[in-house]
Amino acid sequence: MVNFVWLGMMVIGVVVAGFNGHIEVVTKAALEGAQIGVQVALDLIAIITFWLGIMKLAEAAGLVRALARLVQPVTTFLFPSVPKEHAAMGAIVMNLSANILGLGNAATPMGLIAMQELQKLNRGDPKTASDAMCTFLALNTSCITLIPTTIIGIRLIYGSADPTEIVGTTVFATAAGMTVAICADRLFRYIYSRGR
């Protein structure tokens, strides 16, 4: 699937640029994209290192397991293939909590830890996403946000009378997205496994 999307963007991009008579933008755009990719990864080093340290501490203190146990009924429904007491559950819960609070730079490292733990449980091909990973990413990309910090800041800059008035509509829209994400994940998994 990702092969198809990737190839499509590349081929259509180059063809359209050529057709519009500005083929020179392709090389520049490609190198700029590569630059951004490396920059993002480098920026992540500090954040990930820091949060991995904190997570290890939380784990050693037994806090991650306690938190995971708290929301166990929900997580066992969403992730039937992950053992109840597994470290992956703790990391998943931490990631989703950070997302809900709008703490983007804490959410990403927690999410990457969750992926590492889920990869340990991946009994299939290590290059292919497991069911639990697909569910986790469906939730992660559509997670409910209580505080959309960035856009509130922008509304403030441009003189909104009430910058936070969009919080309610945002929560509604994310809740709808998250519900559909969970259903779509189950539905596509069913279709995909039948297609094999």
């Binding site: 990702v2 963007m9 991009g13 359209v16 640029a17 519009n20 392709v26 520049k28 755009a29 490609a30 994209g33 951004i36 990719g37 993002v40 990864a41 992540l44 080093i45 290192t49 991995l52 340290g53 904190i54 290890k56 501490l57 203190a61 806090l63 609070l101 703490l103 990457l112 992926m115 590492q116 990869q119 091909d125 290590p126 290059k127 292919t128 697909c134 469906a138 992660n140 990309t141 559509s142 959309p148 856009i151 509130i152 509304r155 003189g159 909104s160 008035e165 969009i166 509509t169 945002t170 509604f172 829209a173 709808a176 997205g177 519900t179 994400a181 779509a184 994940d185 596509f188 995909y192």
Partner: protein, 177 residues
């Protein structure tokens, strides 16, 4: 309501940084050693994502710079205007899953041009706040553990994005319309 939520957000990380080491110490954990032990993997994890991020961002960048994205906007205009979506916010809707920076740029521009308290300004704010950069998140998360076969993940991600978009339009018409 927002005050409480906003305070919660501001306090969350400092409280974590206070409580986690304290509780660990109370349970006889060597706090410094344990932190370092965990942090060790940070560099490798971040570096592993480079090839995946470069691959995806190169494709997105070429697709956008070539003007192909603008054609996609033209293609989708009739469909989305049928559900009550103003043309001004369409580029944002299409850019959102692909590029976080570009979508934020568009949202900023729309808020600036139309005013934050106009219907369009409120709609684009809701759209920006309620969705994530699906392609980036998938590439980063899968890339960090070396997964290159995403199965149906892109489908479920985009289905959710589309739902969020329609829900944003619906709720903004109801609340602000």
């Amino acid at each position: 309501m927002f005050g409480i939520v906003s305070d919660l957000s501001r306090w969350a990380i400092p409280v974590v940084l206070l409580l986690v080491p304290l509780i660990a110490a109370a349970r006889k954990v060597n706090v410094f050693e344990t932190f370092v032990e965990g942090a060790e993997a940070g560099f490798a994890t971040a570096i592993t994502t480079i090839p995946y991020l470069v691959a995806m961002l190169v494709a997105v960048s070429v697709f956008r710079a070539s003007g192909a994205l603008d054609y996609m906007v033209l293609l989708f205009t009739p469909v989305l205007s049928a559900v009550g979506m103003p043309a001004e916010v369409l580029p944002h809707a299409i850019m959102r899953p692909l590029s976080g920076g570009a979508a934020l740029g568009i949202a900023t521009d729309v808020v600036k041009t139309n005013g934050p308290d106009s219907f369009i300004g409120r709609l684009v704010s809701t759209m920006q706040g309620s969705s994530d950069t699906t392609f980036y998140v998938l590439t980063l998360y899968f890339g960090s553990v070396g997964i290159s076969r995403y199965r149906y993940s892109i489908f479920s991600g985009l289905t959710a994005d589309f739902t969020t978009l329609i829900a944003s339009v619906y709720v903004c018409h109801k609340v602000f319309g």
